[in-house]
Amino acid sequence: MIELLDPTSPLVWAQSQAVDLGWGLALRWGLWLVVGFLGLFPGIVAYMVWLERKAAARFQDRIGPNRVGPLGLLQPIADAIKLLTKENLVPAGADGLVHLAAPVLVIVSAFLMLAVIPFAVGMAPVDLPSGLLYLMAASSLSPLGVFLAGWSSRNKYSLLGAMRAVAQLVSYEIPQVLAVIPIVLWGGSLSLVAIFDKQVEFGWFIASPPGLLAFLIMLIASIAELNRTPFDIPEAESEIIAGYHTEYSGMRFGLFFLAEYLSVFAVGCLVTALYLGGGMPLPLVRFPMNLLGDSLPRLILVDMVLLAVFMFKVLLFILFMFWVRVTLLRLRVDRLMNFAWKYLTPLAIVNILFAGIWYECVIRAGVLTLGGWLWGWVVTGPLVVFAVWLVVWINRRLLLGGPAGVGRPSLGGTRVDAGAAPG
């Protein structure tokens, strides 16, 4: 098989032989792992907590953390030390191993999601051909972790909270998954890098009626996936203690906490990469990308612009989440489930069709033309508006008239027609 490994040979026997695992790659990966995943991202997350507390305080006319360090900037470190020194309580009769594994699973889910985000040109940790699907798969791990957390605690409130949380998570996972289909359709690939390239060519995907609708669906579903207000039923303190992590304390609780903020960050990155054009500063202009030449300094320059813009967008997204949290009230649990299945899912399904129409109008041509773009808006815009109106109208109507099926005869009283038969 030696001749097959010859770099000049046209054949190789496995993909792994097609690329060398040289020092360059190892260094890159090492940097990503150590600096990115173990250093920068947790750091960002820690300061997100600080930011949220500050922002929430401003909304409520308070000051927020201000004791530890200037502006309370050392607060996250203090929090970490506090968590580290707290006793770790595991309830008697709990399933020790599973109790431990649950938060780990949730953290792993959040970490894995970040692995395919293209932060800038050449700055995706890895570029998987099925990246988006991989991302969805990674994010689908967390309901399992949540369930296990509730189950292993041997506490009925935990379990109740977990069941509710999982029911909510899985319900909102459907609109979330369906909302990325238009992106795949337009990108023509499951790779996030290819999707970014497509957005350079055809403008941000949010700049189209189906894209906007998909973005909104994604946004709402993400808020719910992250268990944040107004979708935080699972941890509704007034109803079921603290939900699935009732029995978690100290650092184990800290892990859930960390995972939540890590997920917020990851979803922010995801939304930015999918809908908001990644690091592109303007929707329909190729601005930094046209500076890209073959020289390294240019690449670095472009990447700096892209990275800055990317992070700015993520920051906006995060601030939006905080804003929503302090502004809106918690939804009732039945409304919550209704919303996923009766509003978002039908819209997301119909939106796939609209996305196909947009593709035919705008992207099929191969180059972005103003005429095509406007034509796309003219065709899909009314459709999207109509669909939203229709779904809302139907739901309203049903709400007033009571759900269909209320008047259905029940099992008991209908034996009357036994034996009745057509002539």
């Binding site: 046209p10 699907l133 399992l144």
Partner: protein, 207 residues
């Protein structure tokens, strides 16, 4: 190195499968099953079918195991213990049959000689080569490996379109049927008392 990786994954997977079958507690068994699914997904990656691996995780670990957990929660005590297993008289034949099947399959794998010009299963050691470029022999497979989502999509839309639409119908049928089967008109949160058991007298015929 890749062999070691395979062995680690395979041993983990088989251990999880065994755990699924042996553990009495159903929730833990389902958790072990999720581990097995994950190991299978890892094997798919080793087989260069990462698209399928992602699907495997999305569907099995993300969805099916949740459904199983819910099923356990709805039918068992919350802790999911399963005191009832088959009496030991049943155990031995089951295990013997299983081992016999494994022996047969193992024998078959190594005894296979390859049809016609194909190579024997036992003798295919390095996997068939793929092309570096796009024109050499092995190029279709390379395309399939590098862009599996797209190739699968094209195949589903053309050659397998009937199977694809049928899968949609199957899902709808499963949804409709399962809802119809599980749905109760008087569905109130049950309070633990046994539900109405209709008096359906058991009949006592024997063959």
């Amino acid at each position: 190195m890749i062999r070691v990786l395979f062995l680690v994954i395979a041993v983990t997977g088989l251990a999880s499968a065994l755990a699924t079958v042996l553990i009495k507690n159903l929730v833990r068994a389902a958790l072990a099953l999720a581990g097995f699914f994950f190991a299978v997904a890892c094997l798919f990656v080793l087989l260069e079918a990462e698209f399928l691996a992602a699907l495997q995780v999305l569907i099995y670990v993300g969805a099916v195991s949740i459904l199983l957990m819910f099923g356990i929660m709805l039918t068992r005590g919350v802790q999911g213990t399963d005191p009832a297993s088959r009496p030991s008289a049943w155990r031995l034949p089951g295990v013997v049959i299983g081992l016999a099947v494994f022996a047969l399959l193992g024998y078959a794998i190594f005894q296979e000689t390859g049809l016609g010009t194909q190579r024997a299963w036992g003798a295919i050691d390095p996997r068939p080569a793929i092309a570096r470029g796009t024109v050499e022999p092995g190029a279709p497979r390379r395309r399939a490996i590098n862009d599996m989502g797209k190739v699968v999509g094209v195949e589903l839309m053309t050659r397998y379109v009937v199977a694809f639409e049928l899968a949609g119908l199957l899902l709808t049928a499963a949804l409709v049927g399962a809802v119809a089967v599980a749905h109760r008109e008087d569905d109130e949160p049950s309070r633990g008392e046994p539900s109405r058991i209709p008096s359906d007298p058991p009949i006592t015929t024997s063959p």
